[in-house]
Subunit: 198 residues, 2 copies
DNA sequence: TGATAATGTTTACAGCGTCAACATAATTGC
DNA sequence: GCAATTATGTTGACGCTGTAAACATTATCA
């Protein structure tokens, strides 16, 4: 009698399997080694099978970036909620911690989300989530400096936190710097700068 | 009689030619299309010729990044010099403008310099130049907040400017933002934040 | 001047993304 | 319920890539 657990010809959940295999590969391999063929291998499928679900590698990575954005926005939202009864400044600091934490835990996906869009295709909901994250930040900043100056204030915060995340991921910070302690000090200065604007 | 301008078997200045061809390619093509073979083509030489001057593509790109760093440090230095008789705050602002300008004019090289070191190899003088840039910045910041708090202050400035550069290069800024005007506003807030530390 | 080192070319190999042709299974229409 | 169609797999091919090895040409030096 033939073995009962023989692999069927059709996978059934291949699209989903490719996305999770891709995320796993991004977590384990250096980005340049994350290839369509490698992801297909991990999903236990031939190298051309993904074609029926993602036209190109860029489309697959774009979808992974979109999912990353959803998780990212959710993380920031729950951080903001958890600080609902704090001061606006403390809430902003909490959000910044969540931001940096996400970047540290998901460096490759973070790179897809915020890096140049050469490796992945920008899907509509990716653009939407990106804008959602921005207005989330702008709202938190507006609570400190008022809506008038919220744009530049949000730019200050976003640039700084994004810059720190990037520098840390790319290991470009001088070795004598402790990123967590520094984030607190940097955020303190940022908030002072914001408050000087009022 | 044979033509006099016939190409000689040996190039003569191939190493230099490869570096400039590489920089040109980085300026014209999207980074993923900058290949060793493409650079060799531009230098008018067979695809394996670079091997005698650069062991790998990463070595070539690493050397290009190192040269970029030299120009970068020089730009910042001359910006700092030009503001020698200004206040420390104004001098820092001048340096920031030079920083952002360099990133805008040389996005691909900037990416090699500050991005992940997967595409290019870190050569010793690259590390040296990087550290030089950092202490240059730290000195400028120390003139405002004193040496004690210069480290965190420099981190604030570097993160912010690097973040803005990256966001602008990657076109991740909301479209309604004018980067140049925003830089001024952001730097004003940063300097206020630094001065609040004293 | 002749050996040797430097610096080119050619050829080869494996991995990549993508496409086209084909195989198999699920679904739909009658 | 069965045939036609559609969805989703596999296989093989193409041209690209980086890199290595073998070979050709020229420059350098004893």
């Amino acid at each position: 009698m033939p073995s009962l657990d023989k692999k069927p010809y059709h996978h059934g959940e291949l699209r989903e399997a490719l996305l999770t295999a891709g995320e796993a590969a991004l977590g384990e391999l250096s980005p340049e080694n994350v290839s369509l063929r490698e992801i297909a291998r991990r999903a236990g499928v031939s190298h051309a099978a993904p074609k029926h679900h993602f036209q190109t590698l860029g489309e697959l990575l774009g979808e992974i970036a979109a999912r990353g954005f959803d998780r990212f926005v959710e993380n920031l939202r729950s951080a903001a909620d958890s600080g609902a009864n704090q001061s606006a400044a403390a809430r902003l600091q909490t959000m910044s911690r969540a931001y940096l934490r996400f970047a540290e835990l998901n460096p490759a996906v973070y790179g897809l989300m915020f890096g140049k869009r050469e490796r992945c295709v920008t899907t509509p909901n990716l653009a939407k989530s990106s804008l959602a994250a921005w207005s989330q930040l702008e709202t938190a900043v507006a609570a400190i400096v008022g809506p008038q100056k919220a744009v530049n204030g949000a730019l200050l915060v976003w640039s700084s936190v994004h810059g720190m995340a990037q520098l840390r991921i790319d290991r470009k910070l001088p070795p004598h710097i402790d990123p967590n302690a520094s984030l607190e000090a940097v955020m303190r200065m940022i908030i002072a700068g914001l408050q000087a604007e009022t």
